[in-house]
Symmetry: C2
């Protein structure tokens, strides 16, 4: 926080959302519809037909577009997949990068208030991870309203 207060033009950590198909673009658009513009963020849509080299090249291009010198956070849809492994290829030691797997909308909404000018990628990634995990809840937990199925179990 201190850094950005001292220097409002400090570079911002870039964001790359890597998904199978277009969900990254949809998630980014949805988050921006809810919380306003999210600068320095780009979505990469990968298909199962893309070779691994093509995936790496597209993710590399996206990283270059949003790299302002403060490092990057890559949000991937699922670990163990080829787009995730292609994202790992970005960890070549040339930039500060952390990857968060299991991207969901609450993580992107959180980006509106995370200090991307003051915090390094690893700390932003840890915040997004916690927000993402906390956001996964059951309707009955959130409302206290028991569903029919839960009532029927007893």
């Amino acid at each position: 926080m201190a850094t950005s207060l001292q220097n409002p033009s400090a570079p911002r950590v870039g964001l790359v959302i890597v998904t199978h198909g277009g969900s990254g673009e949809c998630l980014l658009a949805a988050a921006q519809g809810l919380v306003g513009s999210i600068d320095g963020a780009v979505a990469v849509s990968v298909t199962l037909e893309d070779s691994f080299e093509v995936q790496v090249s597209r993710i590399e291009g996206a990283c270059a577009r949003v790299d302002a010198g403060a490092g990057l956070v890559i949000l991937a849809d699922v670990h163990g997949s080829s787009p995730f492994r292609a994202s790992l290829a970005m960890l070549d030691g040339t930039r500060a990068i952390e990857i968060v797997c299991g991207v969901n909308l609450p993580m992107l909404i959180k980006l509106a208030t995370v200090d991307r000018q003051g915090l390094p990628p690893i700390e932003i990634a840890e915040i997004l991870k916690e927000v993402g995990k906390r956001s996964i809840r059951l309707g009955s937990e959130l409302t206290g309203k028991l569903t029919l199925s839960r009532e029927e179990r007893h």
Copy 2:
């Protein structure tokens, strides 16, 4: 599990994915590309321009389409939003329904192996919640490969 083994034609718990914009459709298509067809699942795309009544009506229509008599699980993108509140309107006591918030791709992938003919909606929802939470991890945790930023912190 026992139920479906005893009766392979037992009704299957229906799935409705409710998101701001088209991410639900993209997630469902991505999951099906990875694990094969997911029967009895439908995505509802809601926009900020849709009135609450329109949202309720569209979610209701989707629920009716996939309701085979075994109840429903609704996967919503973020709790507290109007599509989430519109989903809550489905908890009117007429069906066994549970809602899971914070939908991500690993939850949908899990649907390929969850016993939707043998388990009630609340148990399926609890499984999806745990899978979704566990899937949110950092690249450095999964690979043991420290990122530049983490190295630099010390």
